[in-house]
Amino acid sequence: MSDASYLSLEKLTLAYGDSVAVANLDLDIRKGELIALLGPSGCGKTTTMRAIAGLLAVKSGHVRLDGTDITRVPANKRAVGLMFQSYALFPHLSVYENVAFGLKLKGMRGTELDTKVQSGLKSVGLSTFANRKPAELSGGQQQRVALARSMVMEPKVLLLDEPLSNLDARLRLDMRTELQRVQKETGVTMIFVTHDQAEALALADRIVVMKSGKIEQIGSPEDIYNRPTSSFVADFVGFENIFPLENGKMKTGAGLIDLSGDLSSHLSSGAPSAAGLAWRPRMVTLGTGPFQGTVRGTSFAGDSREYLLDTALGPIKAEVEASQPAHALGDALTFDLPAEKAAPLLRFV
């Protein structure tokens, strides 16, 4: 075992009956690393987690933890914690007892147990709900019980399946901090699924992007966010203006168009084999540039304002600071897709 592969998935294939959900997945995770698992609904995130936890029989491939092949080790012997997307709280147990469940199984008793459970409840803000049954809690409260239940266990690997999806933004920030604190204190290796990119960016050491049961890209948050390697990842992380390249030309609604000199040289120096180019809405410059467009839609997003433009290239999304003067539907605008900002894509899928 190298340090770089504390937890490793090797050619992991997982299936429900005959339908393969995850195929040939390879992934190495360092000890203490915090991995965010991203990907569209149904791409196999939960499935992968269940296999790591030992809840799903592996069709082929291996799971190794700390040098040992645990592919056939039963779930209760893995020291892998899992917070279920569906919470899976025990309906017959109170909040307190739900959180205490695993600790008791470890043999913890008395004040030690109580202190631990109480602090777990406190960390998710549910101290006053200890005696409620799960059915008497709101959705977000249930989710926090599930979170507390898996965190107090301090497993070697903690898998969190959309741990914060039902929490408000404010609370989510607190919980993020809490996760980081626990991670720092216990050095746990953590994989969490999230659909909230801010969360992934803020928390993760590395982000794994999955697509249809396969890994599409692995990288640091900056990598994924700024340097998506494929059109799929680019689209997924918010590069909404994406164009394929064909013979060095950009394929648009208006046909193949030559790249500007800037862009052309930017590419040939940085990514000579690029198969496409992508710009986030925020990267599109409005009010100046070689292209023409008409405002077809607009929406407010707090700090900024988004415009949907009808252009010869096809629809273009642009985002500008909310403090800038607003454009109305039907306004004609010039815009640019600045060369230095374009993300070159290696694969176009």
Partner: protein
Amino acid sequence: MFQNRAEALALALPAAIFAAAVFLVPVVILLSDGFRVPTGGWTISAYTDFFSNSLNQAVFLRTLRLGALVTVASAVIGYAAAFAIVSLEPGAKGKVTGLVVLPLMISPVARTYAWIVILGRTGIVNQAFQALGITEAPLRILFSETAIFIGLLQLFLPLMIISLISALENMPKDAIPAARVLGANWFQVFWKVVLPLTKEGLVIGGTLVFTGSLTAYITPAILGGSKVLMLETLLYQQVAVSNNFVAASVIAFILIVMSFAANILLKRVATARNKQRSQA
């Protein structure tokens, strides 16, 4: 959505009234005979008399023991079987459940006769044991407490399995995986999660088995060779031979109390696991 008391009563009362009128009232009147002084007034002397007899005590304890053994065995086997059945594909599930149900339709007398064929000195079991060299001479399994146990278990196990199947079927799907990842071994999963979530099934199944074992007449009579007295045997003697219905009602009441106690005990057992001290 469900806070309407009138609605709840309208749903529950017909059954309750029916059971009370058709069943409870007549039975209570009959049982009250056992508490009556012929000259008027009430007494429990029939019960103190009953229990002051050492034979009766022994029979009581034996009945209790056999009932408990059969109930525990059928619970253990029943959970394993029900678990296995529930995890089958829908089609196979139906077929296997059908197989479990089949023996229920055999007349209990015929079934005990079949056990005579199986357990007899020249029966299949003894033949197999001898062929495998497990025993030299044929074992005397028939006409013993063991035979009664086997007969009762076969008679009542299906009731337990069927009760448990319906309880297991709707268990929240992720409860067991959740317990597993929290470190529970299969025994703990069962004890702490499955049992409390299926307690209604266990209570009903357990009560059926226990009560059935207490009040079974034919199986102890035939498979026990009448060497092993049970309370129901005494009850039957009072009714069938002595025509003493008051004495019979005393034994019946004792049986009822035993069943009721078992019912409550079962509920306790199933719930005990989650009565935990919370210092919150």
